[in-house]
Symmetry: C2
Subunit: 207 residues, 2 copies
């Protein structure tokens, strides 16, 4: 962990120097992290310039998916590891055109557990939870919801087909992290995106 902290610190210094904000998106496989980024790029076009560091164990699909939408993206492969480490992120950060960016968004490996344990030099961790996963997940996987600065509940367009209890989910999150902002979105159906993106981009003004 000492080695990881050292690299996280180097990234923090670099980001500060370049006046760039870095967020760390963490959620289960298929929770909708990439779809959120695609929609966000469409919505903030011109107003905020961001690049994405895509963390995956294997394949370059997600970076390709984003680049197809003209989003600056770089694929970070962990080769089996369940989370991104600070050194890999730092190396990738150095290759980004930071002078031209307001923000870097890291999409961590799909995993509700391990990525929450590792500092990668980000300004804020953001938890992404799909309504298909069940409302009790924050209580079952508390560390991420303790560490996160915001929770984004995704795929709310599927609610009519599920028994997911939104109130119970929010109650669970607030039990762990009482003052945390919570957004309910569907990038696919363009529900709740504006408030969520406003929170994300609001960070830009603070560095």
């Amino acid at each position: 962990m000492g080695e990881n902290e050292k690299w996280a610190g180097k990234s923090r210094a670099l980001l500060k120097e370049k006046k760039v904000v870095m967020l760390n998106l963490i959620g289960s496989p298929g929770s909708g992290k990439t779809a959120l980024l695609e929609k966000m790029a469409e919505k903030v076009s011109g107003a905020v310039t961001f690049a994405v560091l895509e963390g995956d164990i294997a394949t370059t699909r997600d970076a390709q998916r984003l680049m197809a939408k003209n989003i600056t993206a770089s694929q970070l492969l962990t080769n089996g590891s369940c989370h991104l480490e600070a050194k890999l992120v730092h190396t990738a950060l150095r290759d980004l055109p930071l002078e031209t960016l307001d923000m870097v968004i890291v999409e961590n490996v799909g995993n509700l557990v391990c990525p929450a344990e590792f500092d990668i030099g980000e300004h804020a961790k953001v938890a992404v939870l799909s309504v298909t996963e069940g409302e009790e997940k924050p209580l079952k996987y508390p560390l991420l919801f303790t560490e996160a600065r915001a929770v984004i509940i995704t795929k709310v367009d599927l609610l009519p087909h599920l028994s997911f209890n939104v109130d119970l989910c929010i109650q669970g999150i607030k039990q762990i992290n009482p003052a945390i902002p919570i957004f309910q979105i569907s990038p696919l159906k363009d529900i709740g995106m504006d408030a969520c993106i406003a929170w994300i981009t609001e960070h830009v003004s603070h560095v």
Copy 2:
């Protein structure tokens, strides 16, 4: 890993002595592992006797949920760890009434990555993948699909509301593990359960 292997070996010996099969269910948070077990208990009542070891980071919800359906279940808490280790499983196994059981099913911590790396003394790992997670997940998380002896695709009742491509998903799984049996189920709507349960219970005759 040496220490883990030692405890896995002890469990294998114990299971052999007691003629009990052990399966290790692995999938993302909310992929439907517990719902599968609930439905299975209802379907095999009398024919196969099984107990469940419920792995979670926090809360005893899943074991309570199963016990409410008269399933013998024991909650294993990892206290933060992202997977079950063999020693914890072995200790819990010793507390089960193995003389009266045909099978023990371990529901691992919700995580598509780390549990696939750890032997807990099971006869077979079984991958559980929900259609809400996206059809490309086997290629993005290949280790589990290499290690597994079967894949159970869950929540197929939601397919009409999703863009999930079943054929592409199966193609991805077969690319990694060509001969693996794949089941498509919905415990909620009682779709595909019989073939899936037949595969699971068929293991009982082999020990």
